[in-house]
Symmetry: C2
Subunit: 367 residues, 2 copies
């Protein structure tokens, strides 16, 4: 998420103490968050949204920050997550670089940037940070915890770690664990960054371009896995690129699809810290809900949900629909009201950000 | 394909003249090939096999070279392509680096390695080189032209360019044109190589390691796209790697799937010239059968086939089954005997190299 806004609705809160992570601990981390909509008197209308790998806490526009948020179409007055009714909280993930503490932050113990001294991050750590934030905000039980992609896994972790605080769970284009295919893709993205000589084993200059080549390649692979072959066939076919300057080799940009990926990579570079990317990416690989109890069944049994919804997309090959069906089925054993929506969006994993015609009614039906 | 054999069955033939390519011409190229099985007196039992991107001409073991070939299970006495009956010819593709002329060869006109001065390569050029080879061998009409993956596209190009020489066509895990999804993946693989500082705009030292990092990354992405998520879920699940030395960063090898990709990448490095890889990869993107006539329909109308077979695999997402169905349907308009086999192999695009239980009977049925 580019951070070029002048106004900001970002609030932040620094823990007074050490924060225990699953594989280490850090000193007095800061958590950045935004809220939209009012907390009611009963303090029971809060919805906590965990983000995917790259967004900031700026989920939607507000008076304090009128710029569009990353889920602008979904969150706001009279929108599917209706801020006339709900108090929506979105936190920048622990380990990220948009206000919350992560590998690009200064370690108060050493006064140096954490970089690779940051403990190995897990999605459970992000979920635990969310609970600490709720304590700070004086919110006990959430009306719902919500997340898409990595955020869906984090929401699931939250519901397992804090069953008493979670009345409802909505996961979107997510899964109960990472499978080898998506681990392979993310592992390769990380290797692209780590093998860029400018990565310097994590010691690139901050601020600065850092391993820009590795980040560019990783972003392109990301874009390839976030969308679908069907969408690109429809959008681009074999159209030739016309707006590109002549390539400096026989292997430059010939096709529209190559031009599209290039434009997306250029936008991404310089907006996200490389080490943060590595940590968050690895956290997704490590996630397996079955770690909480020995099996997925036992893990789901821990929850105390009134209701749950799982939304998946048929063209998503990063979080394939069969994984989401499995999660919905598993939830049905322990939760009375479980809905499963299988959307035939064409835009693959990213559909929840773009296919509003299908996602709006699905999400509205839950709220 | 590693080239560590001591014996060789490789033959080669150098054209006496210039060879016109679609986008340039080269002087007296050499074509390396192997043959298995005898040419009969009528000279009408020849089967020409075009390879995928990386194999050499060593398709199967023979007296002259008893080492296993890249399609050992499929070609030989009493095997599906039975060399008791057929004279099988396999050519190292023009543009490759296992004996045939390509970007790693010396340009006779300058006495320097071609590198990026090699003309942009098309699969039609490889097909045309195949026809020149047949002239040299005194073979007019082929019993069949066969190819898998890139080789299937080349076989299709051959059948369109030389209808009078092609009695039968077998394409496997291939397509009539490259779609944006596969173009995007290959474009990214090329960018990984081109952005490796050791590529030096194609001027790395030969022999030498060249852009080994780029080649390693490209190979890993290749492996990810050549197999299937289903196969890896079954084979690896979330198994942790045990045989790896401790990683030098928090992002090293944790999972079996990462260890598997690493082993494959190590085997590949140093066996294939980087510039040749770039040229062959680009040639696949550029291929569109519809270029021959204005539409696929018109292109297929040019052929004079007695029969054709299209074999596809359901888990192949690089050459998706719907593309192969489309090709089979198109052929039915102009060819009396067209078979389409949809195999439910688990190994994705690479199934034709590994799932012999399904491929043996399918290919035997054609021969």
């Amino acid at each position: 998420m580019p951070e070029h806004r002048t106004a900001t609705a970002r609030q932040s809160f620094t823990l007074p103490d050490r924060f225990a992570m699953r594989r280490g601990e850090i000193e007095i981390p800061t958590l950045a968050y935004e809220t939209v909509g009012r907390l009611n008197q009963g303090r029971d209308n809060a919805v906590l949204v965990f983000t995917g790998l790259s967004p900031s806490a700026h989920i939607a526009s507000s008076v304090a920050d009128p710029s569009s948020g990353w889920w602008e179409d979904m969150v706001g007055p009279d929108k599917p997550i209706d801020t006339n009714r709900y108090h929506v909280i979105c936190m920048n993930s622990l380990g990220s670089c948009f206000g919350s503490t992560g590998p690009a932050s200064i370690d108060p113990a050493t006064n140096r940037t954490y970089r690779l001294t940051f403990p190995v991050l897990s999605l459970e750590d992000i979920a635990a940070a969310g609970a600490v934030l709720l304590d700070q905000l004086g919110i006990g039980r959430l009306a719902a915890v919500v997340g898409a992609s990595m955020g869906g896994m984090t929401a699931l972790a939250f519901a397992m770690l804090h069953p008493e605080r979670t009345a409802a769970l909505l996961t979107i284009s997510s899964a109960a664990r990472s499978l080898p295919f998506s681990i392979a893709l993310r592992s390769l993205q990380r290797e692209m960054i780590r093998r860029d000589p400018e990565w310097k084993n994590g010691d690139y200059q901050i601020p600065g371009p850092g391993p820009a080549t590795g980040m560019r390649l990783a972003r392109k692979l990301g874009m390839i896995t976030y969308r679908s072959a069907e969408e690109w066939e429809t959008r681009f076919g074999r159209e030739r690129a016309t707006d590109e300057s002549p390539a400096n080799s026989p292997f430059g940009i010939d096709f529209e699809i190559e031009s599209y990926l290039e434009a997306h990579a250029r936008k991404f570079i310089g907006t996200f810290d490389a080490n943060c990317y590595l940590y968050l990416s690895r956290a997704m690989d490590l996630f397996d809900a079955a770690d909480h109890g020995g099996s997925l069944k036992q893990a789901l049994e821990r929850m105390r949900l009134d209701r749950a919804m799982v939304i998946g997309v048929e063209t998503d090959f990063l979080f394939p629909i069969h994984q989401q069906e499995e999660l919905a089925q598993g939830l049905k054993t322990y939760v009375k009201d479980v809905r499963f929506a299988r959307l035939d969006s064409m835009q693959g994993h990213d559909s929840f950000l773009v296919d509003m015609d299908r996602f709006r009614p699905a999400i509205a039906s839950f709220f």
